[in-house]
């Protein structure tokens, strides 16, 4: 099928657009259109034309569904079909006059294709090409499965190939691997060969032992030979003694056989056959006698049977009359009811004629009646359409009224803009404006409390935040310096106090030690000085007295006192001298204590000095602070105070910031609330904004609802104007159609000669149909009644005539017919008996002939035996057979005796054995046997001795061989390894050759069984890729079959996923075109529609693509849609200017 013309009458953006495609080969047409020119629309139009519009079509954006029309002139062979398509559920294929036409011709052209199959196979764009191609290479559709079906079925063979390769690889491989058996055997051979070479030189001991072994072996063999000779002689004598009875029995049997000279030996088989023939001949004789007796009996029985040939001659006629009699009886029974029905039918005909009036006589043809009915139906539909138009118009007017009322009722207030603006402004503050204001206020209170607490912590300083802000700041470094200086002074005081304490403690310890020494014998210097001072005091008055003559108050007492003083001093001096060590230590301790006391006093002095300095420094620092209004605190506390001051100042700053935030938020909220209050026309009551906003939003929603209703009403009015215009058009079209249908109606009535109102057409035509059927029924009944009477009369006449003819007595028809039937039954019974006897006689005659033939055959077969044995008859032949059997039995016995002689003859020939027995004397044989037995015992002892010597020599040689390891073993191992290697070599060659052969056969098999579709797709792919790819192959050895592209080197295989985008498109197009060619070859030749399939093709491959399409266009039409001008030029260059066909979409 091809498109000769495509008419886009009203479809999508097209109106009265026509594309004409010239006939001729190649049937390739390029349709050029820029973007949005309607290429895809045109493709859809073709599908809609061929298969009908879908329920929802996107191409009604310019024309209403009912107005959509697409047409074409289709050619298929010699058939041309001009058709148009409208949207609808039935009767959508139209003729040129917009009247539905039969779909059958179009369906025949479509060859069973559906919209889906057409879309998949014949109408492709870039997307469907790729999706379809992907489905094919993944074997998800029928075409794909067809591709991969070929060459399958060799899975088991492929497995076998892998097994063969594995087996061969286990023996040998190009790469050296220790596990391969050939390699293992190679190593073993090399090792064994090396050992053989190493052990090639044998020691002399080994050679001597070997020579000794050889000598003993030769001696042993000589002894054995002697013993064997005696043994042979003994066996011969024993044999003669054993065979003698058998030889005598043979001679007796031979003599008995000689008595059967002249007797013919027929042989066992011929004897059995002859006996069988004799038995068969006797059976045949008995069968002949039995058959002749039975035939005589049959002849007697046939003579006793009486037949009636006259009645049998008219048997069929009698059967027919008997059958007709039953039908006659039934017809008479039905006749009563039939006559009543006929009367009713006649009355119905009269009633219908009266009802039809003047139309009753009209003879209306079926075609005309169908036309009238169709015209009446169309008239009814047109009236219905008119009424629908009126109804629709009424509904439109009602809607118009409602829309106008709605428009009038929706007045938009002038305040809406101000309210909208105020609400938007309030919304911009956020839905939590009140909450935020409240939260800020709470936050401010908290910050204020914290700021007051921070100020309180600055005691002893008092004042508010402003006063605090006015205070000067003392630099931290200054504070740190002061604090460090004071700390140094405090440390110094503490250090000196500790030094004084330490010196005091040491002095006390020395004092304690001095007191301990003093209580003992030690005399301290002070004690010495004290007693000497007392002595000097007592001497002084005496000296004055003596020198200066001073008077003594009491000279005796003075002198006594002086003497006691000198004695005391001397006593202490003596004591001191007597304990010089203790005294020296005591002296040293005294010095130490004095030193510690000095140190203590000095430390106390320095400590006091540092303490005074610290007090002065503190006093100076406090004066420094007090002078500027700061609290007079020591540097450490002042440092903490300054930190608290920072906290207090931060708290004050936070309070100030929060106050600003609260004021700003509340100001914005108040302004928005005031604006909304003003828009609402109410006084601003302050406070939260939410209630006012809610009220304003309600008012705004009311305004918007009114505006929306107004817009809807206006849109409804606009739509109603459009619908009114459409209704006007529909009414005009319906009125025109009604007029045309009225003209056709009147013409048809005139032709039919009827007078019918169009509204009553169906009823009148039904009445006329009913009248015609009633008339026909009444006539049919009348004919049946007349026929029954005629049949009854003819039946009676026939019975009478037949009864008279065969002599049945006169009487009632039924009675005579019964007599005829009885006579016929009797005649048939006699004929049946006679027939069975005839068959029996015939069978017996056959048996007789068979027995006679058998007898003749056996006699002919026995004739040569009778002649050979000279027998006169079969009895004599039996005796001859018995003699033959006896003679052969005797010969068999002789043969058995000879076999027994041979079995006991130690393998000698029969004549040798007979001669040996014949030549021997039985008495001498016994004596000879006794003598040989003694001799044999002696020789056996000699053999034992030689064997022992040989065994010793072998043991000696074996021990040498074991100790020397093995040149022999190595040689044997080498030979065994070589043997193993040769076997493996044979096995490898066989396995490898099998593998190579099987692989070669599989490849050839797959080449031969390659699917034609794949073959053709490979050719097309090669053309489309300008030879870059040679063909396509299916890799069936993969886990799942896959499609591969074979490069031009015929070795490189490329997977589809590895192909470029353009090559993939070319592959998919090749597959699709190959499938298309198969469809066309199968008779499904629909136009192939291609929507810009070459967008990824370079110019050379696009040229190749057009060559392929031109080739396809030799068998089916190809419409190529494109928006690329250069593709049009390429197409023109490929097919030639004179054959180039081009259309433009505008």
């Amino acid at each position: 099928m091809r498109l000769s013309r495509l008419s886009l009458e009203r479809y999508g953006r097209f109106e009265d657009c026509e594309l004409n495609f010239r006939p001729g080969i190649p049937d390739l047409h390029v349709i050029y259109g820029e973007n949005e020119a309607g290429k895809t629309t045109s493709l859809a139009a073709v599908s809609d034309l061929l298969f009908g519009f879908p329920v929802r079509s996107p191409y009604n954006f310019l024309f209403d569904y009912s107005l959509l029309r697409v047409g074409a002139v289709l050619e298929d062979g010699g058939t041309t079909l001009a058709c148009r398509r409208k949207k609808g559920t039935s009767g959508t294929l139209l003729g040129a006059d917009d009247v539905p036409i039969d779909e059958a011709p179009l369906a025949a052209m479509l060859r069973g294709q559906t919209r889906d199959t057409f879309g998949l196979s014949f109408s492709l764009d870039q997307e469907t090409l790729r999706s379809g191609g992907k489905a094919m290479v993944e074997a998800k559709n029928d075409v794909g499965r067809t591709l991969f079906a070929a060459g399958s079925g060799l899975t088991g063979v492929s497995d076998e190939l892998r097994r063969l390769e594995t087996e061969a690889d286990a023996i040998w491989g190009p790469t050296n691997r220790g596990s391969r058996t050939f390699t293992v055997a190679q190593r073993q051979l090399a090792e064994s060969t090396r050992l053989v070479r190493d052990d090639a030189l044998k020691p002399k001991a080994w050679s001597d032992a070997r020579a000794a072994t050889e000598r003993t072996r030769e001696a042993l063999e000589a002894a054995r030979l002697d013993r064997d000779a005696v043994q042979a002689e003994s066996r011969a004598a024993e044999r003669v003694r054993r065979l003698a009875p058998l030889v005598r029995r043979r001679e007796e049997q031979t003599i008995a056989l000689a008595g059967y000279d002249g007797v013919v030996d027929l042989g066992r088989q011929r004897e059995t056959a002859a006996e069988e023939l004799v038995r068969e001949a006797e059976e045949a004789v008995r069968a002949i006698a039995a058959a002749e007796g039975l035939r005589a009996d049959i002849a007697n029985r046939r003579a006793a049977v009486l037949t009636d040939p006259q009645v049998l001659g008219v048997a069929d006629e009698i059967d027919r009359l008997v059958a007709d009699a039953g039908a006659e009886v039934k017809a008479k029974r039905d006749l009563v009811g039939l006559e009543a029905e006929h009367a009713d039918a006649a009355a119905t005909v009269r009633r219908l004629r009266a009802e039809a009036g003047r139309n009753a006589g009209a003879t209306l043809q079926r075609e005309l009646a169908a036309l009238l009915r169709e015209l009446a139906r169309v008239h009814s539909e047109q009236r219905l359409a008119m009424r629908q138009v009126e109804d629709d118009r009424q509904r439109v007017e009602e809607r118009r009224g409602r829309a106008a009322a709605a428009l009038a009722a929706t007045i938009v207030s002038d305040a809406v803009d101000a309210l909208t603006s105020a609400v938007d402004h309030a919304r911009a503050l956020g839905a939590d404006a009140d909450a935020r204001c409240d939260a800020l206020r709470v936050k401010l209170d908290g910050a204020t409390r914290r700021a007051d607490a921070a100020l309180a912590r600055l005691a002893p300083w008092t004042g508010d935040g402003d006063a605090l802000a006015c205070l000067p700041r003392v630099d931290d470094s200054e504070v740190h310096d002061a604090r460090d200086a004071l700390a140094a002074l405090v440390a110094e005081v503490r250090r000196e106090e500790e030094a004084a304490q330490r010196a005091s403690d040491q002095s006390a310890a020395a004092a304690l030690e001095i007191s301990q020494l003093a209580t003992g014998t030690a005399v301290s210097p002070e004690e010495m000085a004290e007693v000497r001072t007392e002595r000097d005091r007592l001497w002084r008055p005496l000296r004055e007295h003596l020198l200066n003559g001073a008077a003594l108050q009491a000279p005796a007492e003075a002198i006594a006192g002086y003497e006691s003083g000198v004695a005391a001093a001397d006593d202490r001096a003596d004591a001191r001298f007597a304990s010089a060590d203790a005294s020296g230590k005591l002296s040293l301790l005294e010095q130490t204590r004095a030193s510690h006391d000095l140190t203590r006093r000095q430390a106390e002095t320095r400590a006091q000095s540092a303490r005074d300095c610290h007090e002065e420094t503190v006093a100076g620092w406090k004066r420094r602070l007090a002078d500027v209004g700061l609290p007079a605190l020591e540097p450490g506390r002042f440092h903490s105070w300054q930190a608290d001051r920072d906290v207090a100042e931060a708290a004050q700053a936070e309070v100030r910031n929060l106050i600003a935030d609260v004021e700003l938020s509340e100001a914005k909220r108040d302004a928005a609330r005031a604006a909304m209050s003003a828009a609402l026309g109410v006084a601003d009551g302050g406070g939260p904004i939410a209630p006012v906003l809610a009220r304003a939003e309600r008012r705004r929603a009311e305004f918007e609802d009114v505006a929306r209703k107004r817009l809807l009403a206006q849109a409804e009015l606009d739509q109603l104007d459009v619908e009114t215009a459409a209704l006007d058009r529909r009414q005009r079209v319906a009125e025109d159609a009604l007029d045309a249908n009225g003209d056709a109606w009147r013409a048809a009535l005139t032709e039919a000669g009827l007078d019918i109102d169009v509204s009553a057409c169906s009823a009148v035509l039904d009445l006329l149909d009913e009248l015609r059927e009633a008339t026909a029924s009444e006539a049919s009944m009348r004919r049946r009644i007349e026929g029954i009477g005629r049949d009854t009369r003819e039946h009676a006449a026939a019975v009478r005539q037949l009864a008279d003819a065969i002599g049945v007595p006169a009487g009632e028809v039924q009675e005579r017919l019964r007599s005829l039937r009885d006579r016929l039954a009797a005649a048939r019974s006699a004929a049946t008996v006679n027939g069975s006897l005839h068959d029996e006689d015939k069978r017996r005659h056959g048996e007789l002939q068979e027995a006679q033939a058998k007898l003749q055959a056996t006699e002919e077969a026995l004739a040569p035996l009778l002649a050979e044995t000279g027998s006169a008859d079969r009895v004599a032949l039996g005796a001859a057979i018995e003699r033959s059997r006896a003679k052969r039995g005797l010969a068999d016995e002789i043969a058995a005796t000879e076999r027994a002689i041979l079995e006991a003859g130690d393998g000698l020939r029969l004549d040798e054995l007979l001669a040996a027995v014949g030549a021997a004397d039985p008495d001498q044989v016994a004596a000879q046997l006794e003598s040989l037995g003694s001799r044999l015992e002696e020789l056996n002892a000699a053999v034992d001795e030689a064997a022992t010597a040989h065994g010793d020599a072998r043991a000696t040689f074996a021990a040498l061989d074991t100790d020397g390891t093995s040149a022999v073993d190595a040689a044997a191992d080498a030979e065994q390894a070589r043997s193993e290697l040769e076997v493996l070599a044979e096995d490898y060659i066989l396995k490898r050759t099998q593998a190579v052969t099987l692989k070669w056969a599989i490849e050839k098999y797959r080449e031969r069984h390659q699917d034609p579709l794949l073959l053709r797709a490979g050719e097309l792919f090669s053309t489309l890729t300008t030879g870059r790819y040679a063909t396509l192959k299916v890799d069936t050895d993969a886990p799942s079959p896959r499609l591969l592209g074979m490069r031009d080197d015929t070795r490189t295989m490329v997977e589809v996923d590895a192909m470029s985008e353009g090559t993939t498109d070319q592959l998919f197009l090749a597959l699709r075109l190959a499938a298309l060619e198969q469809s066309v070859a199968a008779g499904v030749g629909l136009p192939f529609l291609a929507d810009d399939l070459f967008v990824n093709f370079d110019d050379r491959r696009a040229e190749a693509g057009f060559r392929v399409l031109a080739e396809v266009a030799r068998t089916t039409q190809v419409l190529f849609f494109t928006h690329h001008p250069h593709l049009v030029q390429i197409a023109k260059s490929v097919v030639g200017t004179e054959l180039h066909s081009e259309c433009a979409l505008s």
Binding site: W172, E982, V983, A985, E986, I989, L990, T993, T997
Partner: protein, 126 residues
């Protein structure tokens, strides 16, 4: 030991020559420990066939293998390195049907024996 004669199972015997040798050795050992069979050579051939036994195309192709020059060329190239390795270890072949034939360049003979064994193997595999 050399097995010769004709049998329809000739292919199977060729294909299982190593197993056959092991079996013969085991039998010999069971007869006497001193009896050792060093080699078992299979020289059995198939009876002449009057028609094509293998009915499918693959079998027919295997039968044609021995006379295909491309396959002969491919086989000689495939076994070239092995033949070199075997002759290095074993020297020139004086026995061993297939190696001898291959060394003489009688690749058709090698292919005939292998095809027989292969068809038997494929038949046994079903």
């Amino acid at each position: 030991m050399t097995l010769c004669g004709e049998t329809v199972e000739a292919g199977a015997l060729h294909d299982n020559a190593p197993a056959l040798r092991d079996e013969v050795r085991a039998l010999a050992s069971s007869i006497s420990p001193a009896l050792f069979v060093e080699k078992v050579r299979v020289e059995v051939t198939e009876p002449a066939r009057t028609g094509l036994v293998v009915g499918d195309d693959l079998g027919a192709m295997i039968d044609e293998a021995a006379s295909d020059p491309d396959l002969i060329d491919a086989l000689s190239r495939d076994l070239e390195r092995f033949m070199l390795a075997a002759s290095t270890s074993l020297g020139d072949p004086d026995e061993g049907e297939l190696r001898l034939a291959a060394a003489r360049g009688d690749w058709s003979g090698v292919l005939r024996t292998a095809s027989t064994a292969l068809r038997s193997r494929l038949t046994a595999e079903g």
